[in-house]
Symmetry: C2
Subunit: 330 residues, 2 copies
Amino acid sequence: MRMLINVPETVVADALRGFAAAHPELTVDVENRVVVRRDAPVAGKVALVSGGGSGHEPLHAGFVGPGMLSAACPGEVFTSPVPDQMVRAAAAVDSGAGVLFVVKNYTGDVLNFDMAAELAEDEGVQVARVLVDDDVAVSDSLYTAGRRGTGATLFVEKIAGAAAEEGAPLERVESIARRVNAASRSFGVALSACSTPAKGGPTFDLPPGELELGVGIHGEPGRERRPMMTSREIADVAVDVVLDDLRPSGPVLLLVNGMGGTPLLELYGFGAEVHRVLGERGVPVARTLVGSYVTSLDMAGASVTLCRADEELLRLWDAPVRTPALRWGW
Amino acid sequence: MRMLINVPETVVADALRGFAAAHPELTVDVENRVVVRRDAPVAGKVALVSGGGSGHEPLHAGFVGPGMLSAACPGEVFTSPVPDQMVRAAAAVDSGAGVLFVVKNYTGDVLNFDMAAELAEDEGVQVARVLVDDDVAVSDSLYTAGRRGTGATLFVEKIAGAAAEEGAPLERVESIARRVNAASRSFGVALSACSTPAKGGPTFDLPPGELELGVGIHGEPGRERRPMMTSREIADVAVDVVLDDLRPSGPVLLLVNGMGGTPLLELYGFGAEVHRVLGERGVPVARTLVGSYVTSLDMAGASVTLCRADEELLRLWDAPVRTPALRWGW
């Protein structure tokens, strides 16, 4: 137990109070657990709403702002938000141009966002949905049918968010979001388990000196447990698994993502190895982002996400964004 | 051992290679360990150079760019950079308007920056120096005579960097930097030890269920070891210790800083408690920054830094900055 918390029951509410205090530029409804861009609804603009279990910060609330999400709904730790949060968020941000739900592929999230879409549509909001399922490690897992949604969520939210900011209609924002997801693959590695406040200790057993290849962002089992490997060896495995599935023929966007407990010093070193492997495989890297963006509480480890990037996606990636966690060009 | 590294000997070099690959907007001399703003030297502009042991990322290399540092020199993990790095950095960024060295108060850093200042001056570079010593926990410690330099380094580098960007002369940039340091105090808490690559395990012994009040950013002992406390209780102690020493009569800048191993979810929750205490003490918070900026590898814990903020300091704080770790208004 090395948690900086009051009691497990108030962790999410406490964090939202702190988020509200730190980010007066956003509207934070602590009671109903909805974070909204302050100038929403923006006339004529398609809105993006996402959400999911807490414990993956800065995802998703840290990605709310001009050029990215219009609203985010945080659930309890590693637990889907409820449909009521999503309906409330949709109502707060819809300008009449419609709402895109960005949903990571976990059973609870999928069911709740589907229900929310029906409810919002009953209230006259036009809703489209994109499912993020980029994790190549396993095809079914503890929490999912099909692939899990992980690092590509950041690419989908940033790029589709930029398209919406430019005034693209709902159908087009949705198709760009789908295109980004289809063009993205991830693979993650855990060097330690994560500890949830409710459990007060590690959620799974990973003995010191072993690592989990292909781990999910809740510590779900991956493909294989192995004795500790070097950064170089891990990069070889992770990049090759992703490339085998993705088969890019041109430049890629690269996210070197920390799981939460891995220091930035190590993450940049791992990024160097990822760049090395991509170079050896002849894959040019158009843009690189290194940091802990899609996390699993205090889990040590990292994931690699690649996205096949054409000119349009790169232009939208480079477009201005102003959120707590991603900010440039503004 | 849950480190994402190759071998301890190459950790800093590996990270610099990854930093270079991720940040083509900066000039990274991996061999000589100097990170420089690409457009340096900027004609007529005072340059800011900082540096220190690695393991505190994003400090300092992540703060290089327009509006903040001109260059950074990373040393080995928790070890001062050498004077040669600092002289090289100064030569690379000096436009003739002079260079300000921002030095955290650790014996090795102070000696090496002093020597570098002499060497740079011999080469015709005008050098001023500001010492950062904001940590109220102890007056002398394992690595320092006097107070340790911790979170206020970020305030000094951002605010003095903004003054330099506006064209202030060296004497004025130096006096603003000194003013920010004199107006800032910090207090840190560790919930776990950090592990250095060289040691391969924890650098000090902190039994589960205990915490170290007043810890330094290398895991130096603090004031007191206590059984685990809640976020609320920790905020009460940390804020009051800082306020007792700082005695602000107006608004403050607030940094709620993660030590590296504490998830953002917990850090925001702690931020809520810090805001609560400040509210109870009648101290208005003008700006809040929450994140892991001045870290100690994978140490769990947090620190609170407050800076008495007048209108000029707030204006300089809000001024545009474009670095890997801090970016706004540009």
